[in-house]
Symmetry: C2
Subunit: 184 residues, 2 copies
Amino acid sequence: MTEPNNLAPNNADLKIVHNSLLDGLGQLATYFGFNKLLGQIYGAILLTTEPITLDHLVNQLGISKANASINMRTLERLGMVRQVSVRGEGKRKFYEAEADFWAIISSILAGREMRDISRALSVLTDSAQRLDKSKGEMTEEEQKVAALYMDRIAQLQALFRFAQNMMGTILARDFEDIQKIDIE
Amino acid sequence: MTEPNNLAPNNADLKIVHNSLLDGLGQLATYFGFNKLLGQIYGAILLTTEPITLDHLVNQLGISKANASINMRTLERLGMVRQVSVRGEGKRKFYEAEADFWAIISSILAGREMRDISRALSVLTDSAQRLDKSKGEMTEEEQKVAALYMDRIAQLQALFRFAQNMMGTILARDFEDIQKIDIE
């Protein structure tokens, strides 16, 4: 079994930077509603110069094989890691990371996030229609409440439409644009 | 004790819409990294025509007073609810919701989110400097690893700068703009 020489760096500074990046990617994962370990596993794969196996990750991160395996499946599904074959290693599964962050993030935004916003908007439309239909049968007191609900629904619709527009603006940019931003 | 007549609506359609909005606001809260109950409590206050007390919320949502109280303090700190005095109710604390969603969201983005991005960028800068300083003492093999880390750091810096720009763009708009978006 080939042990990637850079899997757990020996140099003290490399080690510090390695751990700091894994921490950061762990936190970033939680921002997108995933668990921290998912980000850390992705980071560990992103920071090797050669493809690595599930066993490497289990050893390096001190996690259970089951836990590593579940997260790896999620990472594959999200297009964040992929299996690669390594010559002379037979059927053992090796993984490498998708390093195009923009491709990853835009696929999450375009898929899950946009779907969630559309769903929220359609629930709000249904609610508005429901109130509209039944307000004729409401008491005066209930109609006041219905009017308040209608106002809140309209505000939420405006908010989600704004989010939808922003998301569209973000997705319309491509990674070239991002790369153009100056790096100190 | 005045029981707000609209706290738990009797009309079946009002009840359905009320619960649906509380669910939605609960989910929205989790998007911003808060717990679901925080969003539901905010929703319950947002959907009353009169200020309500902690006891009202405890009854309505079937939660413990301690739980309601902790979340209410967070909501007050975030500027999402405020205490108001109600004539003839003496020292009992009544609450009303901040209904300007944009004010709430932009204060969260401008505060916590922007701080998190700045912190991430400064950690990345530190990491890059650390590698730069120590690469002279690294073996050739270690230098290869350091070069990979430097590439990843540069990519992450570009990504966070992009996020910082987007956040700036969002914050530069004001609620008037959002209101202008057509509502069906």
